[in-house]
Amino acid sequence: MAYDVVGTRPVRPDGTEKVTGRAVYGADVQLPGLLHGKVLRSPHAHARIKSIDLAPALAIPGVYAAVTAADMPKVQAEGVANLGESSIEKQYMQNMILAGEKALFHGHAIAAVAAVSPHVAEEAVKAIRVEYEVLTPVIDVLEAMKEDAPLLHEGLITKSLGKPTGKVSNVAAHMQHARGDVEAAFAASDVVVEREFRTAMVHQGYIEPQTATAQVGLDGAVTIWTSTQGAFGVRAQVAEILDLPLGKIKVVPCEIGGGFGGKIQVYMEPLAVLLSRKANRPVKLTMSRAEVFQATGPTSGSVIRAKVGATRDGVITALQAQLYYEAGAFPGSPVGAGTGVIFAPYKAENVLIDGYDVVVNRPRTSAYRAPGGTNAAFASEQVVDEVARQLGMDPIEFRLKNAVRPGDQATYGPKFGAIGLVEMLQAVKESEHYNSPLTGPNRGRGVASGFWFNGGGPSSSHISFNHDGTVNLAEGSTDIGGSRASMAMIVAEELGLPYDQVKPYVADTDSVGYTDVTGGSRTTYATGLACYNAAQEAKRQLCERAARTWECSPEEVEFMPGKGVVSKSDAGKHLTVAQVAREMNRTGGPIHAVGTVNARGQAPGFAVHIADVEIDPETGKTTILRYTAFQDVGRAIHPSYVEGQIQGGSAQGIGWALNEEYVYGSDGTLRNANLLDYRIPTALDLPMIETVLIEVPNPNHPYGVKGVGEVCIVPPAGAVANAICQATGQRFTELPMNPERVCMALLKAGSR
């Protein structure tokens, strides 16, 4: 189907404000009488808090308030707070914001103060006296699972669908996908490859640190300005943590400098509210970069054992894996998703996948772009690659032979609907990149596939018409990757308007209907559907108004994009949208259309990446020579922003593969909480990431949209590892594959 606006590449509506520095980010918020907050953090990874003395801090001139966990209201310990895309057990929510009886990781918030300036607040934080009983930390996932490991939570019992054990341990959850008989299938296989992999804890690396400003009125009304992936999620969390009525809280989402899953969980917002209430002044807290690393939610480091069996003609017979993910200090790692992602691109009759969520003395993990997926694919895609090599098969041919197709049962259970993995693998096989020669020493090419579930859920949008025929579009999704442009394009397409006549904006929680977070690759799909639905309602109202103008019944008119409202009986008779809008106060008043959805029918995403690398045998440094990302995107509403998502996800995945890691001392303290020692890739480190958009439409969406933002980070680590293996002859089973690790492996192998 041909579209006028969908599929074009207009400039984003927020672009000018951003490049000229005028866009208002969270830390830019200024209010009369604003105070500045700072947080005291635990210097220990695991310690009992024996006492906290705030008096010396409060005695400093200019200090208005100080809070500890004792200032938190008592909330019902049982139950789970629904945060939209995710949930968390209430018993842990408060202690993630301020430590209770124990500090559970280096950087855990102990107390917070508000003062006239950031400097006075810093001085006050230093004056707080805390008495700790230092406990033995456990930061390694396998160590934490041992019988004699130090326990983080005295009452933690493993959640599972299995027989309850009642046993207390650091294993928060166990999950399993099982079908067939893997043991028998492996025994009957011609080739079996099994390896153990380790991946490091890594951070999303968003450029803008967490920030929140809160103002509590004397009537108890709370307003929060913040940088978030979901204003409604912030509202829900603050209400749960502070036991406040939801309707008393208004959250104003500011522009956001990246999130990638890390800005769903609140950290500063409840502190700002507590301090503002105590000080009776607005309070702003902004994290330093060190605090972002220490105390927000990175993603899990993991240990993964993966095993693949195949017949000699290249058919996979059995798939088995155990995934152990660090949850951080509180339960909730993305291991469940990891168990689904790990072998999702492959068909198999015999599957056994076990996942374990394990608490350790590190910051509690948060979502990071296809949470849990990159770890899983780093393991599975290498084992799959090795099986193909042992069989002497081309790695893409092997993947094609075993690829899931629509109607196949996923390794994690349900049957797939409209998926485009086969089309994508075919495109890779026929691509110029895959068929181009790669010559020269120390060079290698690797491929890897990736899968992500993609989400739907509730979203809202409002369309208001102006008298000149332009449209204001309010939506509830905060805009991280250009979603305002895509939303405006959908409305422009439906109403037959030029793109620049639709003015989209992200509304606060008082001004638009409930909308789930910008996450789970759901925004263009779900909020896009809300905009589509609002546009249908707007068309209905436009027809009604035109009928009143013409003094006929609405059944005698219809909407035609490009023309406006036309008479069914007289093809030449029509009113443009602007003409109808101009008359709206004389035909019934303002035209305002609401679109809501609880979106279902999302299609999962698949991606296949090709990486060409060159290894410097002297330094161990890996250079990415060329990188192409193929992805089934359903239908690209704004192809440039889809490509941007894919390029961004690939870049992050390459950083995860080659350099990024949390480095801890044996005492459990984080040693590299800055962007010099935690190295994310820069433009100088990467070639232009090439993208190929494969459009296999999602039949459940009017344009065929599928989520695109997450699956692109799943294949890179596997693809780069496979390329390094081809270049060096060495299989790298630990992330990051940094120069030191590569060098050591080459020395050990005697190839340097």
Binding site: L161, K163, P414, G520
Partner: protein, 88 residues
């Protein structure tokens, strides 16, 4: 009757059976049927208040249900119990 896939960790309750046919027009009725046939099932899936455990996600015909226990189930439906998953 709907086809319910029994998670590996729950097969101790079904004597190792991996799939069972259960009558019911909603997920709640399916769980009632499972409990009747295999006592102990409900406790694994739901809390004392009868609500589904938050770490459990139910997929009917390949898609996560959004209505919880009220979710409709067809005669030919396939039902899976899966770990809850969140995106980023």
């Amino acid at each position: 009757m709907a086809r319910v896939f029994i998670p590996g960790l729950m097969r101790d309750l079904t004597g190792g059976r991996t799939q069972v046919q259960v009558a019911g027009a909603t997920v709640r009725e399916l769980i009632d049927g499972l409990e009747q046939a295999f006592p102990g099932m409900r406790e694994r899936l739901c809390g004392p208040d009868g609500a589904l455990h938050p770490h459990v996600m139910i997929a009917v015909d390949g898609e996560e249900v959004i209505e919880g226990l009220r979710a409709p189930v067809g005669e030919e439906s396939e039902v899976h119990f899966l770990p809850a998953i969140a995106g980023g």
